[in-house]
Symmetry: C2
Subunit: 204 residues, 2 copies
Amino acid sequence: MSGMLQRRGLSGSGVSEILSEARAPKGVLYHHFPGGKNQLAIAAIEASVGILLESLERRLGRFDDPLDALDDWIAASARRLSTTDFDLGCPLAAVSLESAPSDVDVRQSLASAFDTLRTRIAAALTAGGPTEGGPTAGGPAAEGPSSGGWSAEDAEGTAALIVAAYEGGLMQSRVAGSARPMAAATTTLSLLLRERRMSRRNHA
Amino acid sequence: MSGMLQRRGLSGSGVSEILSEARAPKGVLYHHFPGGKNQLAIAAIEASVGILLESLERRLGRFDDPLDALDDWIAASARRLSTTDFDLGCPLAAVSLESAPSDVDVRQSLASAFDTLRTRIAAALTAGGPTEGGPTAGGPAAEGPSSGGWSAEDAEGTAALIVAAYEGGLMQSRVAGSARPMAAATTTLSLLLRERRMSRRNHA
DNA sequence: ATCCGATTAGACCGACTGGTCTATAGAATA
DNA sequence: TATTCTATAGACCAGTCGGTCTAATCGGAT
């Protein structure tokens, strides 16, 4: 039932439209989601972040290098955008930008969705790597790599950057009707991250 | 008249709302913009990209290093977001994500808006630098720095990444109600770009 | 078979949407 | 000052919005 909610934004696709697409009458919705549209949006957000996380997790298991996993993860979204005539972007992004500061619970849900994503990515960066590093001991004080090549604070920033590049790239490609902007942004990011890791390895 | 249009999205803020905020009656709008809401949106997009470009241009003139200019440019947007209680994001982003593929002219306008931004940034990257390089002669064939430390193709990717990080970071901070995600993403990006430039300079 | 609570179905509602229309105010020309 | 053409003003419209309400239907317990 909540599958097609992840397609586009909140105010963009009206309740009636969503319902008709789901072949469900109004009554059902307001029985299961007494909170109305906002509660529905929150459910959709949580479902979306669940799917996003699961697909990321799968790739983290499949690849040795978390950067490879992230590349593949992002590439999959880009592919999905292309194959749907540049219609299906990120459901989180769509709802995010049409949310008002007064929609406290929706924003709360979005904030924790992004936080979950960033946290998972950061964990993957600090923990993993193409060749396993030493034990993780020190706090986020030093700048040196703790295990996977990223200190805790570096990983936080990098994770935020990855999510931002993902969302921002998707957005540019969506309106451009071309995969190019997103590909340019994300491959450049991937390259930068790999270059840095290599240079850190050589120096430290 | 178009000043307040740049605030938020298209469907998010209705025509009547916009008009009442502008203290203008319906007639005025449909006299000046016979195309209705979409034409208004396009005008707002063009005005927005104009403002964005101008503020970037100002900073490119003020700073020697384009990376410094970009940092300051992005920081200004982050400040604007914070000082408006996380209400004012990027007008381009808001309209972008609620645009359907069928809104051809709106998307066209958005696409060229982002393209203009990316092109200007790429130009700044290839042309400028903290210490002026040699003359710009070679095509985008070689990978080596042409003048500012970026080849043409590198600059394209980097520009797309910068715009993506800007938009994606702004989005995350907006819903989080905190400047932190955007700051983390953009400072990490800035660091990465500076590191790479340095290492390129040392190697080449 | 009968009942009963939970779920489904969709008609219905007021509010508001984007957009059109006529009437008026204002500036420019004569 | 009279005239004309443009820009302003806002009433008005059909359509749609998100949301509520009652009638029908379903499955399980008796």
